[in-house]
Symmetry: C2
Subunit: 295 residues, 2 copies
């Protein structure tokens, strides 16, 4: 119907975010039309979420957030039922029920963006693990000697292929003498983005293609390893970085197929998300709606 | 009641193994006593196992094995019901039902030996994944730039901490000038083993302690990462290498606690296996018995 966004950064504190969301929801209500009402509000948030208590336990890219009762704060401010869920779980809820993973036996759902998130669906059911925190594929270590991650880990997948790392890869290549003209042209006046690198890569730029070849190969190896552990029949990949197109998908699929242990006849299918950038929104909203109407 | 063993190596072909097992079972039958009979035979085998068809699809440390119908070959030769299961699943069956993981909500079971195996139990049920192959934590990549693994992957956990890699670590340290006297004394006349390195480490040898410190830290980081993905409440670790004692467990636990994302109040408990070296045998036998009596 309508959307709005607020930028967040590492320094964003809960008060500021809550105020921003309240303002935007008030503005979006204008679009509802006569008779329209908000049945429930779904919130997808990166990090460790306690769904039952509606609390953000921690969120590696929002380092000031610790045990924030985000659900109740929004519910009190907005006077509507609110559900809080991990953003990758929201993505999996949408894609697993209505999207690219519908009908899978064991589905692995991965979001590639600022963070790298994940969720597992077995027989139609999101797997929460023992405390509702399962799925953090971005914080599986794929380089035990690698750099420290804000989560406390070392060499986490997110530290190798999160969007800011992809930008760093391009910057490092350019600093070491690779041509940066095409990426700069795609970037324009703003800061470099993964989208600009992807556009340059799609247009054939060697520097940009080399960045996505590295990133796709790392994701392919990492997914092959997690696939050996989980044995899914479907892997759905979404998030902004996944929109890069074949420059990412070709090395990713090629590396996955070469590295995964499963014989070809039972190798999982890797599929792009159906709902693209809206998957998390759709999943969080649907999750909130289902919870509210079931309650 | 009684046990017997046959050494296997990379070159062991199915025919030789089947003949060896048949001979040993015939000999073990002598120990059954009057009225004793074999109700079922359980086989735990490393690698990708199709439980329903009783087939070893592949086994990275037995490279000649491809789609071997091991269950039916043993059943035909021994004329008793046979069940074939992955060895780490057998371990988890024993430890998850009767051992260190009994009652866990989400349990991760890990065997450290020649290979590194794993299995997942959720709400008392072994998780097979989409094709019964789940749990291969030894083939999760923890070093995307690392050495190639016989499984086809790169930098698999098993390539860093499988028992032959632990021995290589000791040999490399000694070759670079570290003292090898204590390890050699523990080794005696035979080939170096992880047990000899562990004995030297427990006795205070610096070279051996450094080996297990490295290995424990790598396993700690790797388990922290997989724990972020799975969110278990219990992790049970067994296999021969796990018998090394505190020289392994102290760095493993310390690194795990420092690296895992879960806050301290919901951090999984890491426990040694209850059944030690017999866990796989007990689990495979019990699995076979339960399947036979339920059929």
């Amino acid at each position: 119907v309508a959307d709005a966004s607020i930028p967040t950064g590492r320094e964003t504190v809960p008060d500021v975010l809550v105020r921003g969301v309240v303002d935007r929801v008030a503005a979006l209500r204008e679009n509802l039309g006569p008779g329209g009402r908000i049945a429930a509000i779904g919130v997808g948030c990166a990090g460790l979420i306690n769904v039952d208590r509606g609390i953000v336990r921690l969120s590696p890219n929002l380092p000031t957030w610790r045990d924030v009762p985000l659900r109740d704060r929004l519910r009190d401010a907005l006077q509507r039922p609110v559900s809080l869920v991990n953003d990758a779980n929201a993505f999996a809820y949408a894609e697993g029920r209505y999207g690219a993973g519908a009908g899978c036996a064991t589905g692995l759902f991965v979001t590639l963006g600022t963070g790298v998130g994940g969720a597992v669906v077995i027989a139609g059911k999101l797997q929460g693990g023992a405390h509702g925190l399962a799925g953090e594929i971005g914080h599986v270590s794929v380089d035990v000697d690698g750099v420290e991650c804000p989560c406390g880990g070392r060499g986490c997948l997110e530290m190798l292929v999160g969007s800011s790392r992809i930008i760093e890869r391009a910057e490092r290549k350019i600093a070491s003498g690779a041509s940066g003209a095409a990426i700069r042209a795609a970037t324009g006046d703003g800061e470099m983005t993964t989208r600009a690198i992807a556009m340059a890569a799609e247009a054939g730029d060697r520097t940009a293609r080399a960045v996505f070849a590295e990133v796709g190969e790392i994701i392919g190896i990492a997914l092959a390893g997690v696939s050996n552990f989980l044995d899914p029949d479907v892997i759905v990949i979404g998030g902004g970085v996944a929109e890069a197109g074949e420059v990412l998908w070709e090395p990713l699929r090629r590396t996955f197929d070469a590295r995964v242990m499963a014989p070809a006849d039972i190798r999982p299918q890797i599929r792009p998300s159906r709902f693209g950038a809206s998957a998390g929104l759709i999943g969080a909203a649907r999750f909130a709606y289902d919870r509210t109407t079931a309650a």
